[in-house]
């Protein structure tokens, strides 16, 4: 479909609570494809949420299978999620996160170690899956975007991002 520009904070759309998809139609499929295309084009990204490309709907995609860290762990590959909800959490893990929408900063965030997430997939099938570790972090990070939360809202300490990342 199309590679979209990734919004950068302080774009106000990143702080909005997104609307659920009531009618899964062609526009939903297009949105999912745009997210996948943008995520892949961003090179380093393992996930992206609809508000990051300016679509204020509860839609996000995650794929940790191509990342250095994700490869080493069990994962579900590409997840296309419509109206995702975390219905169970377990444990906690601390991780340093960075976000395409907040360049030059990373922060230590505490996330659940294991989650059960429920969503409609690209074929409108209801999925309920358990995700652990890195994949769980990625999903929690992307789902926060749907509630207008950035990792800056979760962070306990901030560090300058010491590494230059690929920015579009």
């Amino acid at each position: 479909m199309a590679v979209k520009d990734v919004l950068i904070y302080p774009d106000p759309r990143l702080k909005k609570v997104c609307t659920p998809i009531d009618h899964f139609d062609q526009s939903t499929r297009e949105l999912l494809q745009n997210l996948v295309d943008t995520m892949i084009d961003a090179g380093h990204s393992v996930g992206i949420a609809a508000p990051q490309i300016g679509d204020l709907y509860r839609v996000a995609v995650v794929d940790v299978s191509n990342s250095k860290l994700g490869k080493k762990q069990e994962n579900h590959g590409l997840l296309q999620m419509v109206n995702p909800e975390i219905i169970e959490t377990e444990g906690s893990q601390s991780v340093r996160e960075g976000c395409m929408s907040v360049p030059d900063y990373t922060g230590n965030v505490t996330r659940s170690e294991s989650i059960v997430v429920q969503f409609l997939d690209q074929n409108q099938q209801l999925q309920v899956i358990r995700c652990d570790r890195f994949e769980a972090i990625a999903i929690q990070h992307e789902l926060d975007h749907l509630d207008g939360l950035l990792f800056l809202d979760r962070v306990s300490s901030l560090k300058t991002d010491l590494f230059r990342r690929k920015q579009k």
Partner: protein, 179 residues
């Protein structure tokens, strides 16, 4: 624009940050970067500042005099060109935690292992914790490993130190997850 590093330190009390930043704000300064914390009973502030109208320390004249009158020590360093910009790093960020019974030389010996190998320390905090008669020293250190240095190699250096210093040391990757 000329940048300066401003260091302020004094006995901790409420109002230090507000007094310092009021002076900076009123004087037309920008704060480009800063780190401020309590060390012991002292509040310490380190800030990288600039002001379009100021290019030498002489021009500060009495700007920070009110702080010194409030028992704060003020030091200004003039940065060389580009000194305000962080350099670019290549490699893997790792965190080394060191903790154990307090004894002289913990920081030095760990830092020496890294320094001798030209490994850059980017963040370091130490604290003395525990009970007064049994103090425990804790050090948290972040360093950038050059690309040819693997995490397990650092672990092996630290393994030696663990025995020598009789402390616990753990090394872990701190790679920021890019989302």
């Amino acid at each position: 624009m000329q940048h300066f590093a401003l260091t302020i330190i004094g006995r901790d009390r409420p109002g230090i940050v507000s007094q310092v930043t009021e002076i900076l704000f009123q004087g037309g300064f920008n704060i480009a970067d800063s780190s401020c914390s309590i060390l012991g009973g002292q509040f310490s502030m380190i800030l990288i500042i600039s002001n379009p109208d100021i290019s030498t320390t002489e021009q500060f004249s009495d700007t920070f005099k009110p702080l010194e009158e409030n028992n704060l020590s003020v030091y200004i360093r003039t940065l060389k060109e580009g000194g305000e910009t962080r350099p670019e790093f290549n490699g893997e960020l790792c965190m080394i935690s060191v903790y154990g019974a307090d004894k002289p030389g913990i920081v030095y010996q760990v830092a020496k292992e890294l320094g001798d190998r030209k490994i850059n320390i980017t963040d370091l905090n130490t604290k003395l914790i525990g009970e007064q008669d049994k103090p425990v020293y804790v050090m948290m250190l972040e360093a950038i490993l050059p690309e040819e240095t693997e995490l397990n190699v650092v672990e092996s250096w630290m393994e030696e130190l663990k025995k020598k210093l009789q402390v616990d040391i753990s090394v872990r990757s701190l790679a920021a997850i890019e989302l």
